[in-house]
Amino acid sequence: TTHTPVFLHLTPSDGVLPSSGYGHDVIVGVIDTGIWPERPSFNDGRFDEVPSRWKGECEEGTDFNSSFCNKKFIGARYFYKGYEAAKGPMDESAESKSPRDTEGHGTHTSSTAVGDFVANVSLFGYASGDARGMAMDARLAVYKVCWEPGCYDSDILAAFDSAVADGVDIISLSVGGDIVPLYKDSIALGSYGAMEQGVLVSCSAGNSGPSAGSVRNVAPWVLTVAASSIDRTFPAPIVLGDGSSYEGISLYGGMSFWEEGEQLPLVYAGDAALNGSESAYLCETDTLDPGLVQGKLVLCERGSNARVAKGYVVKAAGGMGMILANTFESGAELIADSHLIPAALVSFEDGVAIKKYISSYTSNATASMEFKGTKLGVTPAPTMAAFSSRGPNLLPPEILKPDITAPGLNILAAYTGKVGPTGLDGDDRLVDFSIMSGTSMSCPHVSGLAALLKAVYPGWSPAAIKSALMTTSSILDNTGESIKDLFDGEAADPFAYGAGHVNPTAALDPGLVYDLSVQDYVNFLCSLGYKDAYLQIFTKGKYECTNELFRARDLNYPSFALVFNKDEENVTVTRSVTNVGDANATYTVQVVAPAGMNITVEPEVLEFNEENSILNYKVKFQISLDAQLQSLAGIIRTASTEHAFGSLTWTDGVHKVRSPIAITY
């Protein structure tokens, strides 16, 4: 947050920041691990009285007084009964039975979404600058539901129930679980109830990428956020004894025990096993032989235990430093960690090369490692984090998920004062701000940006705000090329980034929005076969199915996800767009058809004569004749061609209202 506002082109002089008064008086509820209230991100020096509509409280508990709340940080509650019902009484020596954040995650997400301006901060000098949340003048309410074992459904639902009753406008939730039917999904259920009352819920997509079908928090009324990089890195170059060099990344903040450029003995952890341990290459606890590691740099591989824990293991065995190599799945994604010993992460490819060098030089292998601080202006950026969970959405595949991507790799924001930045027991370095990675970090960026839009357009529905963010997002990086995937270096697709990378300046003036009412979502649930008890738990008896012919793909969503069954050759869907720009506007359609697909839009021109008027259009997706012939010949519909992507854009020459298209054959 010392750089993401700049990366997102948020400027104080024009655009969405001044238009929204920096999110003035919008209330953002963060359901997470609580808050470390002493961090200056939550100061209230510039804030006037708490909005009279606020009905929340500042609950007291262990090491937490109601006086910690203020005009900025206006509410705090904690929910632990589900946790204690499952696990027994909480160990209050290890965690605070109160809204106080002893983990760090909730303080980080809260300050990312709405943290106030804090001058001149850094983590051990890295990422230095002035930190600010996306909606600096929004108010914050925290709902602590996550504890040592995790976050229980019963507690999460209690937090949703309270937050909506308290009067929040936006909910930010960076939590997830396994794929379950929507009626068993506490986040889907709680966010549905929030949506019913006009509250937009922004959720993290999950960190199980790059596996297909790994995206979570997939209900269509949720804004599901993937994670991508920004144009900043923390270089830690590694030079091997043969002169070859590799670009590592590190947030190591201590002393190096060698001269700059000095070559040290280098050993592969898998060759330094203690008692023949087969997991030595992962640098798991007690797997390294001190006699083979002492005084050397050690090459470890990612996987199993935490990245920072591996450095701790190397240190315990007497190693001087660590080179950590990515797995194949992590590719070139470089996550920065504040290791306890000199250490740097390298890409999978570089890890393979270093390992090959070690095997060639055996006992004579050497390397040097340096820590170069912070580098800005990196290209290309954004790039999709390999860990960011991917579509297709398994439940249901007719709703494209994730919805959008935002910065989530190496993000600096406020942190707990309870534990060090690695979270390890042996890490007693307490810091005000820390650097973390995950879709947990991208989600609150979007929550804060949604708060800005809510301040500008207080009457807009959650679906309209979501549409504005999605249809104005970008699929290009800072070199003008398609956003790349850090997994394989290839162009990413909508299963990775959804509609694209969030562009708040454009979202301020989207031109058209795809709006949705509660009844639309009810019809969607009906299309999934929900009725009787299963429908009742969402609708509370207030709504019924009104269109038996409604199909999930007809939901007025700002993206298209079509699933073609074997015998289907064409599918027609409908959409309606609301003109939120100038009264008189003429939009024409531009289509980039997915491979093997012909697309016809009717009408091809939409003429609006008044503000907020709504026009409908139909899109016919037809498998092309060529594709049909290939299909007959068994050429397509193989594993490698089962998905194809395109886009549909309405433009009046000023606005570009773009919807991604994902086809599953």
Partner: protein, 90 residues
């Protein structure tokens, strides 16, 4: 017996609340006591409700055996019981 207790999130249709109960909270607590066979004060202490939910959906969470949760669903107004799960930070 205590070890057999699981947390369930029970969904209710509040418009089916029998009029004899003055509030949904009273209805929930009495219904739990009924299926656990305990006096109300003991049932409250042992089984809950842990929470009653009234804004985003209608229902409560409570510690019940699988048989008790099934019994509860035989009573009018209780539509579904879903076992509590633990989710993780992303």
């Amino acid at each position: 017996q205590h070890e057999d207790l699981l947390t369930y999130i029970v969904h209710a249709s509040t418009n089916q609340k029998p009029p004899v109960f003055s509030s949904t909270a009273h209805w929930y607590a009495a219904s739990i006591a009924s299926v656990t066979g305990l006096p109300l004060h003991l049932s409250l202490a042992r089984h809950g409700p842990l929470y009653t939910y009234q804004t985003v959906f209608h229902g409560f969470s409570a510690k019940l055996t699988p048989a008790q949760s099934s019994s509860l669903l035989l009573r009018p107004g209780f539509v579904l019981a879903v076992q509590d799960k633990v989710l993780q930070l992303h």
